[in-house]
């Protein structure tokens, strides 16, 4: 089993490659981070009285924040504190939005999760899906083609008869808008 620092060194190496535009490294990093973020989000949600289902929203919000703020990681520094600070910030945001003060603990939800662990690949989340529908049509079709249908930038460009550059811009703006909507929503 890997130590925490080995794991974080590996994440840091992947992030350095990703910051240089390496999509494969970036995907590997996100795939490696997600279960860790998910475990932390579940723990946090249970502790402060949110259901396990809400945790996946927190995971998605955290992934979007990591993505949109990746330039704020100083690549000469360890990546762990940066990741934890962003994950904590997004958890606190989610708790605040749902009116939790951080004092209540939902015992029922706690025993529920102990009894029946949710499968690793949690299903469709309401929040992101709902806000996806609210995107401008251009951004929505691009995000949908790439996220939901699993297209690459090139495939999406062909399918939507757009240039790859325009797809890139629409994807980036779409993700930024999603993050903004999630942050300001009062679900």
């Amino acid at each position: 089993m890997q130590g925490v620092s080995d794991r974080e060194a590996e994440w840091a190496a992947l992030m350095r490659a990703a910051l240089g535009g390496d999509r494969a490294a970036y995907r590997d990093l996100l795939v490696a981070l997600t279960p860790v973020l998910r475990a932390a989000a579940r723990q946090g949600c249970l502790r402060f009285g949110l259901g396990v289902a809400e945790a996946e929203d927190v995971v998605q919000e955290t992934l979007l924040a990591l993505h949109l703020k990746r330039q704020t990681w100083d690549s000469s520094q360890p990546i762990g504190p940066w990741l934890r600070a962003i994950a904590r910030n997004k958890l606190v945001d989610a708790l605040r939005r749902r009116g939790r003060r951080g004092t209540e603990v939902d015992i029922d939800a706690f025993s529920e999760v102990l009894a029946a662990p949710v499968p690793e690949d949690s299903g469709i989340r309401r929040d992101v899906a709902k806000h996806l529908q609210a995107l401008a049509p251009g951004q929505r079709s691009v995000v949908q083609a790439i996220a939901v249908d699993g297209a690459s930038i090139r495939e999406a460009a062909q399918r939507l008869t757009m240039t790859e550059g325009a797809v890139r811009v629409a994807l980036h703006r779409g993700l930024a808008t999603l993050a903004l909507r999630l942050r300001s929503s009062e679900t």
Partner: protein, 212 residues
């Protein structure tokens, strides 16, 4: 949307984008100094004996305090916009400007007879000081806050307040070359009040603008 789908979309968006937070702050600071310089020369201008006054310690102290504040507040804000970054010595470094001012005040209390303390504190120009430092600091505050939006401050109000200190320090440094009141007692009262206004405004704006 499934999390795996979201990961796919994010990874496709890996192309490097935008300015680094430090670089956008550097641009904002350059713009801020230019804006204040133009406004200052249009509205006030340096006092006639400004160059000759450079031999006068109390005059020089005004620049040490205001520019010291700018430098230390920049150092702090660069840490505040990086999640998880250790603030380290920068929190204490912010005490440099008040420390210099306190030394100046001590010197002033020793050299100025106690009967004149109130007179030099009130000075002749307090209203101008309270008007122009906040006024000339508005554009810098706006530019700096916009630049900091590319960062990710986990404490937006505090970060906004420190942005206000930078803006106030820049504005006050220009104003200092105009103002005939050199007493550290004057500076500690009116400059501090004027800069605090910008810090307060920065905190309010930061809470709205710097969330992410």
């Amino acid at each position: 949307m499934k999390t795996d789908d979201l990961i796919h979309a994010i990874a496709e968006d890996a192309a490097p984008t935008g300015l680094h937070p430090q670089r956008s702050l550097a641009l904002a600071l350059a713009g801020a100094v230019t804006a204040v310089a133009i406004l200052f020369w249009l509205l006030l201008g340096p006092r006639g004996n400004a160059l000759a006054s450079l031999a006068e310690p109390r005059f020089v102290l005004k620049f040490l305090v205001t520019l010291g504040l700018v430098a230390t507040a920049i150092g702090l804000v660069l840490r505040l916009i990086r999640p998880g970054a250790a603030v380290g010595i920068w929190r204490s470094a912010l005490l440099l400007a008040p420390g210099l001012l306190l030394i100046g005040i001590a010197g002033e209390l020793v050299t100025v007879p106690s009967g004149s303390w109130m007179t030099v504190l009130i000075g002749t120009n307090s209203r101008l000081c309270l008007t122009f430092i906040p006024l000339m600091g508005l554009a810098p505050l706006g530019l700096i806050l916009l630049a900091l939006r590319s960062g990710a401050p986990t404490r937006p109000a505090l970060t906004g307040a420190v942005a206000g200190l930078i803006a106030g320090g820049i504005s006050a440094a220009f104003y200092a070359s105009h103002c005939p009141d050199d007493s550290p007692l004057f500076v500690a009262t009116w400059y501090v009040l004027a800069i605090a206004m910008l810090a307060g405004l920065g905190a309010l704006l930061g809470r709205r603008l710097l969330r992410w």
